[in-house]
């Protein structure tokens, strides 16, 4: 039998030791609750399984050149990343409940937290959350706990997927969510300043925002702090290779999706939610945190710390219900950043921006293609207006082997003709040129 080690003879020996039959081992389950039969297929050999799954994998499009982003990016991943995280001492372990057997994961978690702090310039970070969306929701809940208030302002230039997630999570709670409407590609500060008041727990913004535009939130941070509210910034970690950090803008809590840090796109997960904050809020933070300490003989060691915030101790009074984090994805991000280093990350981020700008120039030179926001700085994504419905143009470009971008009409009224195009460092000048030719040919 696959994955079961005991032979029938050993099973008999063990049953004899126990003094029961296999059926009697289930005597405590009432007869009427035992299932009669399961309508399942026969088991497959490894070879059959691999053949079948290879066939399914080949039914997924891998031939498209990817200009699709929207918060999830096709970055280059060095081979050493997969090689290291495939070590089974890491991936077949569980939560480091026994620190003596888990110094590897614990030190890696401490290093990951340090890495996130260095990237964002924040003071503390946790061991990771599920993804960028749940991280943003957790940040909002954290702000509610810190301020003891119940109003939250979100600008609609924040990733629409995250906004609908926050909406779902707050259905059953007494939270007042107010949405401001992005003004010409940037967060609508006028509207935020108008509605922020002393009931506001937090203002949630994103940089670069969903449209790819680079924003600067110092003014919003100041306004929020004046009212005793917090500024929560959702950020794109690769962009922090060159862009101003959330900390430098006055952010109190920073979250983001870490997929861009060496994690494959894998059709939506597993991903990596990161969270960092000012040190004063660490006891209100959700999720696991690794800390440095000393062992019995006085040597440096790492443990999970501040566990009294967590569900296994505080139960219904915990800061979150979260139990596991995304340890292996956090390790992946740590290895990726260790390989890139200061210069590698800076060059990668700069290349994203350079290539995006080049693509923008090439594409806006096509008759009928116009930039949606004019005179805005963008990182590696931008919005173009097409003469026809963007969803239709994108469908036609798929036939020419391009995933050319995302149709914004899906999430924004009145943007039916707008396409969000993403360019990572992985795209070549030639691929960009070919996209321009293909787009011109379908218009």
């Amino acid at each position: 039998m696959p994955f079961i080690s005991n032979t029938p003879q050993q099973q008999e020996q063990m049953l004899a030791e126990i003094g029961l039959t296999m059926d009697e081992l289930f005597d405590d389950v009432p007869r009427e609750l035992m299932a009669e039969a399961f309508d399942l297929p026969r088991g497959l050999s490894e070879q059959e399984t691999r053949n079948r799954l290879m066939e399914l994998a080949e039914k997924n499009a891998t031939h498209l050149t990817c200009f699709l982003g929207g918060g999830f990016y096709d970055h280059f991943i060095p081979a050493a990343v997969h090689s290291i995280v495939s070590r089974s001492e890491f991936y077949t372990a569980y939560t480091p409940y026994q620190p003596e057997l888990s110094q590897g994961v614990l030190q890696a978690t401490y290093e990951y937290q340090s890495m996130i702090c260095r990237l964002t310039e924040m003071e503390v970070a946790n061991a990771s959350l599920y993804d960028g969306g749940t991280a943003l929701y957790e940040a909002m809940m954290m702000a509610l706990r810190i301020t003891d208030r119940n109003k939250v302002i979100v600008d609609d230039s924040v990733n629409p997927i995250y906004r609908v997630m926050i909406h779902s999570y707050t259905q059953n709670l007494k939270i007042e969510l107010e949405q401001t409407h992005c003004e010409d590609g940037l967060t609508n500060r006028d509207q935020i300043l108008q509605i922020i008041d002393d009931k506001t727990a937090a203002v949630i913004v994103q940089n670069p925002n969903f449209f790819g535009c680079i924003d600067e939130f110092s003014d919003i941070a100041e306004a929020a702090h004046d009212k005793g509210s917090l500024l929560i910034v959702s950020s794109y970690p690769v962009s922090l290779g060159i862009l101003k950090t959330p900390a430098a803008m006055g952010a109190d809590i920073v979250t983001g999706e870490g997929q861009s840090l060496g994690i494959p796109m894998s059709f939506g997960g597993p991903y990596l939610g990161f969270m960092a904050s000012a040190k004063q809020y660490v006891r209100k933070m959700p999720g696991r945190i690794a800390g440095e300490t000393l062992d019995m003989s006085g040597q440096k060691a790492y443990v999970l710390t501040l566990q009294t915030r967590e569900q296994h101790i505080r139960r219904d009074k915990a800061t979150s219900n979260i139990c596991s984090n995304e340890a292996l994805c956090a390790l992946t991000a740590l290895v990726y950043l260790s390989l890139l280093g200061t210069q590698g990350l800076r060059e990668t981020a700069q290349l994203c921006a350079d290539k995006a700008k080049y693509a923008y120039k090439r594409l806006t030179a096509i008759p009928g293609v116009e930039p949606h926001f004019r005179g805005k700085w963008f990182f590696n994504e931008f919005v173009l207006d097409l003469p026809y419905e963007a969803a239709d143009v994108i469908a036609r470009l798929i036939e020419k082997r391009f995933a050319a971008g995302f149709p914004l009409g899906r999430y924004y009224d009145g943007m039916e003709n707008s396409i969000l195009i993403s360019v990572t460092e992985k795209r070549t000048k030639q691929e960009i040129g070919m996209l321009a030719e293909a787009l011109e040919s379908v218009l």
Partner: protein, 481 residues
């Protein structure tokens, strides 16, 4: 061991970025970071050596027996890792199927999601699953949101959730975060939630019940169906925490017990790796009347045999994850179920329960059983009186086990048993492995009774010995800056 930052040598590089021939742009300076990110500067070899060294300071199922109770640390088949790295899965952008006609670009992935849904329905007796919850606790929260949506639609003003005192902490935490207050129900002398206690706490405020069955003591509640009936009598809903499904998988189905909502931990019962603490996956299944409330999107099979995403579910609780769950994890569980098949699946619970009872019987003369009765997938011991008199605690047994080459069981949980040691062998372990573990446990028991001081300084073979958690919390150092 030095931190990766301490090994940094200025100017050293691991990755060379491909040269480019597009012009460099200069973003407006007030939008740029002032100082570089200060990441480590290392060669590829430095990085590989550093993390290889870290991996050697870690212990996984591949190293040796890992009987961490309630975590189901079974073997993780290598073929699943192999398949998850196929470019057709690993390099698939999640927004592709949201493009017009884009569903046709991801038929293989959508089919995986649809077929595992069908398989899990059959295994659990539920009407439909969502693959979106990203972990067990996330599944619990999703379940509680579905419960709330149901009661909102019924016009019910219900405020409380009943949860046994032996439950995982995630149960009360998930209920609270979904807006409910929690009523904790004590366990009875047999180690299970008492049906009379449930009856006493039953009233119109009760929105539902969360139950793990078998529970964290490894005991199956014989009244589980009657308890579900009781909850239904006040229009409450019943939630099955699937953390311990490994005990009954292929033998009995929570849907048949009367549960309305079920979450499964794919990283437990369905053999996907725990990753050092994630990623997991916590699909949620519901009975027919709750299907309209499942999160969007939903994968459907159309009449022409193709698969598509459906968003049009007006009663849905909405999006709880950005896409379709932890697809990479779900895929590994799908592979595992395909390989086990009908005949393999029922052997899982049989051997998991056989192994647990074998350990229980062979150790019960040496440690005290919290409840001396037939167990399911795990058994809970505590220390003997003599050990207690010697000042020995569960932690000392655990640390001594490390020196014998084993990962310790879960200790101090469930909290209702003092000095609990919760042992879950899983079905993938052999009799020889169990025997050597049992021998080690017996040796430690003898030491604990006769030479207790020797245990107090264990482990001696690990890279560190009993790190001080109080110092960690007091002199908080959680980042190297």
């Amino acid at each position: 061991m030095k931190l990766v930052f301490e090994k940094s040598v200025p100017g050293r590089r691991a990755v060379r970025i491909a040269p480019t021939n597009v012009p460099k742009i200069n973003i407006r300076s007030d939008l740029l970071r002032q100082k570089p990110a200060n990441l480590p500067e290392l060669s590829e070899l430095d990085v590989v050596r550093h993390f290889t060294e870290l991996s050697r300071r870690n212990f996984g199922v591949d190293n040796n027996f890992y009987p961490l109770g309630s975590c189901t640390m079974k073997y993780n088949p290598k073929v699943a890792e192999h398949i998850a790295s196929y470019p057709g899965f690993a390099d698939l952008h999640p927004l592709l199927p949201q493009l017009r006609m884009g569903g046709m670009l991801t038929q293989g992935a959508l089919r995986v999601l649809h077929e595992i849904d069908l398989l899990l329905r059959e295994i659990t007796g539920m009407a439909e699953f969502t693959m979106q919850p990203l972990a067990g606790a996330h599944g619990e929260l999703t379940g509680m949101m579905i419960m709330a949506a149901y009661h909102r639609e019924q016009g019910n003003k219900k405020t409380t959730i009943l949860i046994p005192d032996s439950a995982h902490g995630t149960n009360p935490a998930s209920a609270a975060i979904a807006g409910y207050s929690v009523v904790s129900i004590p366990s009875n002398d047999s180690g299970v939630m008492d049906i009379e206690a449930v009856r006493q706490h039953l009233n119109d405020d009760v929105a539902g019940l969360m139950l793990t069955c078998p529970n964290t003591l490894g005991i199956f509640n014989p009244h589980v169906k009657d308890i579900c009936d009781l909850i239904h009598s006040v229009d409450g809903l019943t939630y099955y925490d699937g953390a311990n499904l490994n005990a009954i998988v292929g033998k009995a189905r929570p849907g048949d017990f009367g549960f309305d909502i079920v979450h499964l931990n794919l990283h437990k019962t369905f053999a996907t790796p725990h990753g050092g603490g994630g990623p997991g996956a916590g699909p949620v299944g519901v009975k027919k009347k709750l299907v309209p409330f499942l999160p969007v999107s939903v994968v459907i099979k159309r009449n022409d045999g193709t698969y598509a995403l459906q968003y049009d579910r007006p009663k849905s609780i909405g999006y709880i994850a950005p896409f379709y769950g932890n697809f990479g994890v779900v895929l590994k569980a799908y592979v595992y179920i395909l390989m086990l098949g009908k005949e393999g699946l029922c052997r899982v619970a049989e051997n998991a329960v056989l192994n647990a009872n074998y350990v229980k019987e062979r150790l019960k003369g040496h440690y005290r059983l919290a409840f001396d009765r037939l167990c399911k997938h795990e058994c809970v011991f505590t220390i003997s009186e003599r050990m207690a008199q010697n000042g020995i605690h569960a932690v000392d047994i655990a640390k001594a086990l490390i020196d014998k080459g084993f990962h310790p069981p879960t200790v101090y949980f469930p909290t209702i048993v003092k000095d609990a040691m919760m042992i879950e062998p899983t079905e993938t372990e052999s009799k020889e492995t169990l025997d050597s573990f049992i021998d080690a446990m017996i040796e430690i028991a003898e030491q604990a009774e006769n030479e207790p001081e020797k245990l107090k300084t264990t482990p001696t073979t690990a890279v560190v010995c009993r790190p001080n958690e109080t110092i960690a919390a007091k002199n908080l150092n959680i980042a190297y800056l």
